[in-house]
């Protein structure tokens, strides 16, 4: 499909068109940028670096009802994800889209997760390339991504100044492009080539990197290495690095009684950095300290996941580095892994 252009003057009307779907876009809550459903196109805030909470929460909500139950009634009322309707996530960053394609492998592995997969099927991802890496701690290029990466996206938008270059990448993307056709014009000649040059420039501006070669194989050999004690010494055991990670996908399932005789089974994000995460009913905890938990976080992303799914479960978005209250830095830990003997 030929590339199009979306004039910045027409962004509002294009978004208005998309509000006939469940439209999710970056928006401000006070000064914090989060993804949320918008009904007023004016709420969309596209001039942003990256969101604090990744858009994974749209396809994998922090809390979701699986089914409801009632005392004396053997019927379980299941959640119907279909009711959420067609969803468009507009303006997400390439790393966060790539993260979804990585997590898809888990949710469609030994058990096909109907909630997640249905939502993925209903969702079209309209990405926004990073002309400048949003953060000093971005390292997407070390993991096979790019500030202009297309993996996982249905449409890629590139900010060309007074307009966006619109490139449909999948069938879903082409459909959405058709829906928006009244607001689009033909892209100027040579524009895709120009975007490629901009991509190379943006990649060149990524300041941090890690050579991941050999890390997945090496990690299991460092089980008792002293680096884990040092890397975790300052850890507070909070959930920032995992909850704000676009590829972390652990969840807990709990029954909650809402009113007398009524309740729901719900699942919610869980974090391997919480002490309670591996706590057994006996009181025994196989990961008793933050050392084992930190080792698990890194090993899961960089060893267990690639062993099973052939891809590292990290996209280099830098959120865990930027937002850690005690400056625990995954790149520093990985460098120590590389150097360890």
């Amino acid at each position: 499909m030929a590339a199009k252009k979306l004039s910045k003057e027409k962004v509002q009307e294009a978004l208005q068109e998309l509000t006939k779907f469940r439209l999710i876009a970056p928006a401000k809550s006070d000064e914090v940028v989060i993804f949320k459903q918008i009904t007023d196109p004016g709420e969309a805030f596209l001039d942003y670096g990256n969101s604090t909470v990744p858009p994974k929460k749209v396809v994998f909500p922090q809390t979701e009802t699986l089914f409801r139950f009632q005392r004396g009634n053997p019927e379980l009322r299941e959640k119907n994800v279909e009711e959420e309707g067609t969803t468009v996530i507009f303006g997400l960053r390439p790393c966060d889209a790539r993260a979804m394609s990585i997590v898809d492998r888990l949710f469609s592995w030994d058990f096909e997760d109907p909630y997640y997969l249905k939502r993925r099927e209903l969702t079209t991802l309209v990405g926004l390339a990073c002309n400048e890496p949003p953060s000093i701690n971005c390292f997407c290029t070390s993991l096979g991504g790019s500030p202009f990466g297309k993996e996982g996206l249905d449409i890629l938008l590139t900010d060309m100044g007074d307009h966006y270059l619109v490139q449909a990448l999948t069938e879903k993307g082409e459909k959405l492009q058709d829906i928006l056709s009244a607001h689009l014009e033909d892209a100027p000649a040579e524009e895709e080539k120009k975007a490629e040059e901009m991509a190379a420039q943006a990649e060149g501006k990524i300041a941090r990197s890690i050579n991941t070669e050999g890390i997945p194989e090496k990690l299991p050999t460092l089980w008792e290495h002293e680096l884990w004690k040092k890397a975790s010494a300052a850890c507070l055991g909070c959930g920032i690095c995992t909850f704000l990670c676009p590829t972390c996908h652990c969840f807990d399932i709990q029954d909650e009684v809402e009113e007398m005789g009524e309740g729901r089974r719900a699942r919610m994000w869980d974090s391997c950095m919480f002490s309670e995460y591996t706590l057994h009913a006996s009181g025994h905890n196989p990961r008793p300290t933050r050392r084992e938990r930190t080792r698990n976080r890194i090993s899961h992303k960089y060893s267990y996941y690639p062993k099973r799914f052939e891809v590292i479960a990290c996209v280099g978005c830098g959120r865990c580095i930027n937002l850690c209250p005690v400056n625990i830095d995954i790149l520093e830990i990985l460098e120590q892994v590389v150097d360890a003997s």
Partner: protein, 327 residues
């Protein structure tokens, strides 16, 4: 400002002592202007220690955060002391912890840092974005000096200073074994003007304000975990049977969480401001804590973390305690 050489010399003496197993201080961070906690166990590691206005963390948290694992059969528990570097506000956390008998005074060695104020790292990064190389921040007179990438920038202290420092009553530690520099006189007082403004709002305005904040909470519990006063071994939030707080993340549970935490800190919060600093979604938690702090001071003339010999506020009763606010 504390001289780094002097700090390291004292730290070297302390960590060389037979009765000290660990010294908790600060070291350079991995990027930009960040500093981070350092855990020193031998004299050779002392040279990584620093102190600067970038040393924002309250290290008192680590005294109660360490996991206590069962000692393997045949081994003795390591009962040696832990040494910790504290600024004025941080020292109040030690005082309050000891008031509550979290540990005995002789378990710790306190290296007090008379503090001339720390920066708000968000303000620094907004002013100088995308600095990767390890930069330094120093205070000279009434200016912060930022050195990075061969540049030297001067910024008036007021513009980068953390808000909590602007109303700090106790810049010099209230408990210490050694003071690393000359005492710093109180350079500001807390008039609670921010809280007075909040109190003027109607209930509807307050609710709209907090609804926006609490609805974006992701319950990462960084505010709880960083808090030096949140050290219950069995936190009410982690309890499953009975489950006092649901794991669901929604406005109702989030509100319950933050209100419960604020109440548990009434008469205990020592205003280090760490909860608000670490919150990834910028919930102004100190507004809740400061409201209680103000109430406690006005009602009982009590300031938490100022007198290790005094009993905790909620463990005292006086017949003339005010009760006119009780319905």
């Amino acid at each position: 400002m504390v001289e780094v050489e002097k700090l390291r010399e004292i730290a070297r003496e302390v960590i060389s002592r037979d009765d000290v197993r660990q010294l908790i201080g600060y070291r350079q961070g991995t990027y930009g202007f960040r500093a981070r906690p350092a855990f020193i166990t031998s004299p050779e590691e002392v040279d990584q220690l620093i102190f600067s206005p970038a040393c924002v963390n309250n290290l008192a948290t680590y005294l109660t955060l360490e996991e206590k694992l069962p000692v393997p059969r045949g081994q003795e528990p390591d009962l040696r002391k832990v040494a910790v570097m504290v600024k004025g506000c941080d020292s109040r956390a030690l005082v309050q912890q000891m008031e509550e008998k979290a540990y005995e005074r002789d378990r710790i060695v306190v290296l007090g840092i008379p503090c001339t104020g720390v920066v708000d790292m968000d303000k620094v990064e907004e002013r100088f974005p995308n600095v990767l190389s390890r930069g330094e921040i120093a205070l000279e007179g009434d200016k912060f000096i930022l050195s990075f990438d061969g540049r030297r920038e001067e910024v008036p202290k007021e513009e980068l200073l953390a808000d909590k420092c602007k109303r700090c009553r106790y810049p010099t530690p209230l408990v210490y074994d050694q003071l690393l520099d000359q005492e710093v006189a109180r350079f500001a007082d807390d008039d609670y003007s921010d809280i007075v403004e909040l109190e003027k709002r109607s209930a509807e305005e307050k609710w709209a304000y907090w609804e926006e904040k609490f609805s974006r909470c992701i319950r990462c519990y960084s505010c709880r975990n960083v808090c030096p006063m949140c050290y219950c071994e069995d936190c009410v939030l982690d309890r499953l049977n009975p489950q006092w707080m649901r794991r669901s993340v929604d406005l109702s549970e989030n509100t319950a969480y933050h209100i419960a935490r604020a109440y548990h800190l009434a008469g205990r919060c020592i205003q280090c401001g760490e909860c608000q600093r670490v919150c990834p979604v910028e919930i102004p938690l100190m507004e809740l804590n400061r409201k209680f702090y103000k109430d406690v001071e006005e009602l009982y003339d009590y300031e938490p973390g100022t007198d290790a010999e005094a009993p905790p506020l909620l463990a005292t009763f006086k017949v003339d305690d005010r009760e006119d606010f009780i319905l």
